[in-house]
């Protein structure tokens, strides 16, 4: 009925219709509200200004575009933000570099800064192996307990982070737990016996099933040079304490036997050169303050 698309004046409102009809429903052809139109025009003006000032049209090839008179781009903005943040931190970083690591605690603001930046650096660099809570896992030492392979003082922790373990660093920390089984230095019985003795130091010797006394003899002969006469370990050589309840590679009989048979060679990269000195210092303070520091 309204195929001719011709409007008519609606008698109810006195407004012309669009001429479209859907099942008898028609649409009034009211003009746009003026506030709406002005907003629309204003946004067109804004868009023109925006196109002049900011990067807009992709002209000049696939990867090129109009730069805009302000020459703004996201990468520069990020770089500037990073630079500004570094500049803002600079006085504290310099102070941290100049302060002896054991004296940082005397300056509350500096200690706070070191703790906070250490936490951030730990999350970025250390958490993948040691865990976000620094609890570690099998093969990756926990840093929150009081058991330290290479020592838990501020200086020792700082040095370990710096040089790493079995890393490319010239002064790298290096311990050597030989593969006594693979290299046929001890036979299977001796390994079983020595494992029994080692676990007996923490009260679990009977669970292994070997001869503890015979194991002690093997231990005295083979292991004391690193782990000490009472199996308490030696931090200078990175030899773990075997008399406590904390086991880096597992404390079950099978774990201990595997360790003696195949040896263990844990790795930690050197962070010198990858992280600056202040960050390493902050990291050492953060790790120390988790609770296990000595």
């Amino acid at each position: 009925m309204a195929d001719d698309h011709k409007g008519r004046v609606d008698e109810l409102s006195g407004v012309e219709t669009t001429g479209h009809s859907w099942d008898g429903l028609e649409e009034l052809n009211n003009p746009m509200p003026s506030w709406w139109l002005y907003t629309f025009y204003a946004s067109i003006v804004f868009a023109i200004g925006y196109m002049v000032l900011y990067p807009s049209w992709p002209v000049g090839g696939e990867k090129d575009h109009l730069k805009g008179t302000l020459a703004w781009n996201a990468r520069d903005a990020v770089n500037k933000a990073v630079k500004d943040a570094a500049a803002a931190k600079d006085p504290m970083v310099k102070k941290l570099m100049a302060t002896d690591i054991s004296a940082v605690r005397n300056d509350k603001a500096l200690a706070r800064f070191a703790g906070r930046s250490g936490k951030a650096a730990f999350g970025d660099n250390c958490a993948p192996c040691h865990g976000s809570g620094a609890t570690g896992s099998k093969g990756y030492p926990g840093l929150v307990d009081d058991d330290w392979l290479w020592g838990g003082t501020l200086e020792q922790i700082q040095h370990t982070i710096k040089v790493g373990i079995r890393s490319e660093h010239d002064e790298t920390r290096n311990n050597s737990m030989a593969a006594y089984g693979d290299d046929e230095l001890l036979d299977k019985t001796k390994i079983l016996n020595v494992a029994s003795y080692v676990l007996s130091l923490s009260g679990h010797g009977k669970e292994v099933g070997g001869d503890i006394a015979a194991g002690e003899a093997v231990f005295k002969e083979t292991c004391v040079s690193c782990h000490g006469p009472e199996g308490k370990g030696m931090q200078k050589q990175g030899a773990p304490n075997l008399s406590d309840d904390i086991w880096l590679f597992g404390g079950k009989p099978a774990d201990v036997i595997a360790t003696i048979t195949h040896g263990r060679k844990g790795l930690m990269p050197t962070w010198e050169g990858r992280l600056d000195e202040a960050t390493i210092k902050a990291l050492a303070i953060y790790v120390h303050n988790r609770g296990g520091g000595q």
């Binding site: 605690r105 976000s132 929150v144 009081d146 406590d244 309840d245 303050n289 609770g291």
Partner: protein, 483 residues
Amino acid sequence: MNSPVSKPEPDITFFEEHKKVYPKKVSGTFRQIKWAILVLTLGVYYLLPFVRWNRGPNAPDQAVLVDMHHTRLYFFNIEIWPQEVYYLTGLLIAAALLLFMMNAIAGRLWCGYLCPQTVWTDLFMSVERFFEGDRRDRLALDNGKMTVSKFFKKLGKHFTWLMIAWWTGGAWVLYFNDAPTTVYELATFTAHWEIWMWIGILTASTYLFAGIAREQICIYMCPWPRIQAAFTDDEALNVTYRWDRGEPRGSVKTNKALLAEGKPAGDCIDCNQCYEVCPTGVDIRKGLQLDCIMCGLCIDACDSVMHKVGKPHGLIAYDTDLNIERRLKGEPEQYHPIRIRTVAYAIFIAAIMGGMAYSLMHRETFGLNVLHDRNPLYVKLSTGGIRNAYTVRLLNKERETKRFAIGIEGIEGITLKVIDIDNYKDGKAVVEVEPDRTREIRVLAFTPKGTKVGVSNPVTLTLTDLDTGIVSKTSDYFKGPRP
């Protein structure tokens, strides 16, 4: 095509044109009350920031100050820290209940007398009356052509309005900054741009709301009239036209003639004074309505007219519709300002205010907030013991450096160590906190080997003020492995 369209109502509109209200000057009891409230509230508002209050050194000496920068709120001898913002919550709840109670007793007391919108509008109207004269003059002025005299009247009015509005914003910023300093900075144009911005915002809103928009704010913008309408009940007093006495209305002459004929005639002489004095342009004789802010000015107007025609006052008065029905039936009037609802509000308000007063008087000037480490929850030590770690924030609300001893109890043999603290006394760590500051410390708690530690054990962290011996306690948990 013949669509069955019915003819529309001719005067149907969806938009109410703004009709400017020209309230007439009025005098009487309620006008006096309103003037008194205006002087009192605006006086307090403009002058309170200048009141000084000695809090000793290192503290602001302004009696009422919201110190955003240091996150402190000062109110005479009360000092609120951000973690005590519940006092503000309590105050707001009590204020809401007070609003409900006022509403249950006598309708829109808030709207009519106390609301800033009403008070400032009143002030702006009196300025308008000073420059442009009363209702009749203002109507003539607005309908007349622009003349030099009209221009200067309008200029004077708007300039004075803007001055008042500017001082309204000016006083507002003084609540957030030291008042004398800020006044000096404003006078020498050295104030921070934010101060100018806030004054600008409040100048604009005051000028717009009290000068231009006025009753439009109450009728269209404010939610309270709607809420109030849902809250009110039959017993609440409202500004009421007693139509039982007033109707049928008519001029003095007409009504006299009606009476002479032995026909009924009301007291209302239809002089329209109640309408002409109304600041929102309401005819109260149409009954209770949303636009009426119940300021009582029509009562004043009507009373003075009744006085002139020698009839008793109170043709318009605070009354209820129930009483109108009672009078029509010949029953005596009844008023119930004290009823279950109002008493309940009073009890709630008293309970909240009492509770807040009690807690304000007994609150500690120091304390500790404890956050247990989440990762790891506990650490097994090489000794066989268990260690838990807590981040503890110590609060010192006093004006001097305080020495506290922090300890932990609740498990046999539990000991404590605080990172970077070397001073221990009776197994408790001695920590200093600077005046009016908090200090975050890391507390390690240890249980010795062999102690039975469940998954979660309640423990108490204690903080002892070493000068007074007063102890503040906080409960937390000591976590251990599953047995």
